[in-house]
């Protein structure tokens, strides 16, 4: 019965993998696309329920130490499932409106999320590699969804070439670490490793592979191109679920494999990368007119803020990272969702910020929601983005990295400009053309409203004397 017990600890990914197989069979037998969509939603809700159960469960390792469950790993599985569910919910209307609603999309999303959960719960370098690749290959396919247009195909090509290139580095890093220690399991590697050149080179290459996946500067070049050419709701999927999985895997590697080893000091390196990422991401976002591209650079900047928490390297820092990932997931899916809604209207090119003039009054709910998400991305209280920033920067200050925290705060102050610019267009500019917006579908609208409520609720939650999310996360470390 050990096998069933292990399977139970890996249940969210198991459900998604099984559902993916059924979904691709349904696609092969030309099932109605609405049925595939409903089936996917049901499977994801089940997976989400299971992953919420796991948040409060015990922790340990399963499948011969291949995967970890409970604690950080369970939180990773929860974030991936949450992000996937919301992205699937908002995808249907949008993909229909842009005429790229293929049956296979949902199977690809389910398989990709299986890989993401595998990545987020990995406790072994082999599982890490498999998780990254299962995720990435599905994402390459999704990036190329608009294959008939030059921009879509171009973004997919850039993604697949650079992604596979980074895979080479990741795998070489794994090989060198294996060579230096004779093991791939995090705990065994941590016990056997010494700071030999071989092990250090392996760690460096592994980190390069990770930096590609989380789009840290100077490995960020693919991010804006891919995010711009991909259908918007799938961009949200790339920017939240896959980022969250990669970051959780990085947290697990840094907290379980690296720290025991004498003479391996990564704080300096992570600090430099974090500073570069925050500055470059925010500066280039300032000059973007394309809203999707602006959000892509903003997601690079957010990766920088999360790296601040990783650079702190303390339990407090890791807690801050987990909370930030949660905040980032809900507010970013929301922002991409509203943009996807505007883009559904073909009256104007609604990826250009100039065409947002007066849009806030056209369908007030959507304008208000976009404002909420953008305020949260800036980090203004009482929204959840503020708390995320607060926890990572406070952890950095407590770990003695005051300069890093100051640079982070200054960089996020610069980010106010490009987020508010969208809002200025929404509310304070006159539209230069008359047009009508289509009404959003009920499921689409209410899921975005739910995300808005979550953004607000988790921002004000700490003032209530309840068991808050941050207390739950802080028990993991």
């Amino acid at each position: 019965m050990d096998y069933l017990y292990d399977l139970n600890t890996f249940l969210p990914a198991t459900i998604m993998a099984a559902a993916g197989l059924v979904a691709i069979l349904m696609a092969a037998y030309k099932a109605r696309i609405g049925n595939i969509f409903n089936f996917t939603i049901v499977a994801l809700v089940m997976a989400l329920a299971v992953s919420i159960r796991d948040l409060f469960g015990p922790d340990g390792t399963a499948f011969f130490d291949m995967i970890a469950y409970g604690g950080t790993a369970a939180f990773g599985a929860f974030l991936v499932t949450l992000g996937t569910l919301f992205c699937v919910v908002i995808s249907r209307d949008y993909l229909e409106a842009i005429d790229h609603h293929y049956r296979e999309v949902y199977a690809m999303i389910l398989f990709g999320s299986t890989g993401m959960v595998g990545l987020a719960v990995s406790n072994d370098l082999i599982m890490l590699f498999l998780g990254v690749e299962t995720m990435s290959i599905c994402l390459y396919v999704l990036a190329g969804l608009i294959k008939g247009e030059k921009i879509g195909a171009e973004s997919a090509l850039k993604y697949v070439l650079l992604g596979a290139f980074s895979t080479g580095f990741l795998l070489y890093g794994i090989a060198l670490i294996y060579g230096a220690t004779g093991a791939t399991s995090y705990a065994v590697v941590a016990g056997a490793a010494e700071a030999t050149p071989l092990f250090l080179a392996g760690t460096a290459l592994l980190l390069v592979g990770f930096f590609f996946k989380i789009s840290a500067v100077p490995f960020h070049m693919w991010t804006p191109d891919v995010y711009q050419g991909t259908p918007t709701t799938l961009t949200a999927y790339f920017a939240t679920a896959s980022k969250a999985a990669s970051f959780i895997a990085l947290v697990l590697v840094l907290s379980r494999m690296i720290p025991e080893i004498e003479g391996v000091e990564l704080t300096q390196l992570l600090q430099v990368i974090a500073i570069l990422t925050m500055i470059v991401g925010n500066l280039i976002a300032l000059v973007q007119d394309n809203v999707k591209r602006m959000l892509a650079y903003s997601s690079i900047a957010h990766a920088g803020y999360i790296l601040v928490g990783l650079a702190a390297g303390t339990p407090e820092g890791y807690t801050g990272v987990l909370y930030y990932l949660f905040a980032y997931t809900i507010m970013n899916i929301g922002a991409f969702g509203v943009i996807a809604y505007y883009e559904r209207n073909h009256a104007l090119d609604f990826t250009d910020v100039h065409n947002y003039a007066g849009l806030g009054y056209k369908f007030p709910v959507m304008g208000v929601l976009l404002s909420v998400f953008l305020f949260s991305l800036i980090g203004i209280p009482p929204f959840v983005g503020f708390l995320g920033k607060y926890y990572v920067f406070a952890a950095a200050v407590n770990a003695g990295l005051v300069t890093l925290a100051v640079i982070g705060v200054l960089a996020s102050a610069a980010s106010v400009f490009y987020y508010l610019r969208v809002m200025v267009y929404l509310y304070f500019r006159e539209p230069h053309k008359e047009y009508q917006l289509v009404r959003p579908g009920a499921l689409f609208k209410y899921s975005l409203i739910l995300l808005g409520i979550l953004t607000l609720w988790y921002g004000i939650e700490p003032i209530f004397p309840t068991d808050s999310l941050i207390e739950l996360i802080s028990t993991y470390y």
Partner: protein, 100 residues
């Protein structure tokens, strides 16, 4: 008996050739081939480390890496075909609509 250093040196040289090829070649198909070269160079490392440690894990990882490389090649070639249909060229210096 050949020392493990030679295998590792071969693997490092092949990996470097592959990485340089990705950076300087212009044909997307050749770039994909260079990526395959990188992955296979790593496989040489893995197998020689496995033999050196007398441990089977490295060889198992090679199987995974081979199947991943195959899957990546399938998706990559499919995307290159899509690019070719749009641009009638697979020269990556001419695939430059998206920048900055």
């Amino acid at each position: 008996m050949v020392e493990i250093d030679w295998y590792l040196a071969l693997s490092a040289i092949l990996f470097t050739i592959g990485a340089l090829g990705v950076l300087i070649r212009r044909n997307a198909v050749v770039v994909l081939m260079c990526i395959e070269l990188m992955l296979n160079a790593v496989n040489i490392s893995l197998v020689s480390f496995a033999s050196y440690h007398g441990d089977i894990t490295g060889q198992i990882l090679v199987f995974f890496s081979l199947s991943v490389a195959a899957a990546e090649a399938v998706v990559g070639l499919a995307i290159i075909i899509a690019i070719f249909r749009n641009n009638l060229s697979v020269d990556i210096t001419r695939i430059n609509l998206l920048r900055w």
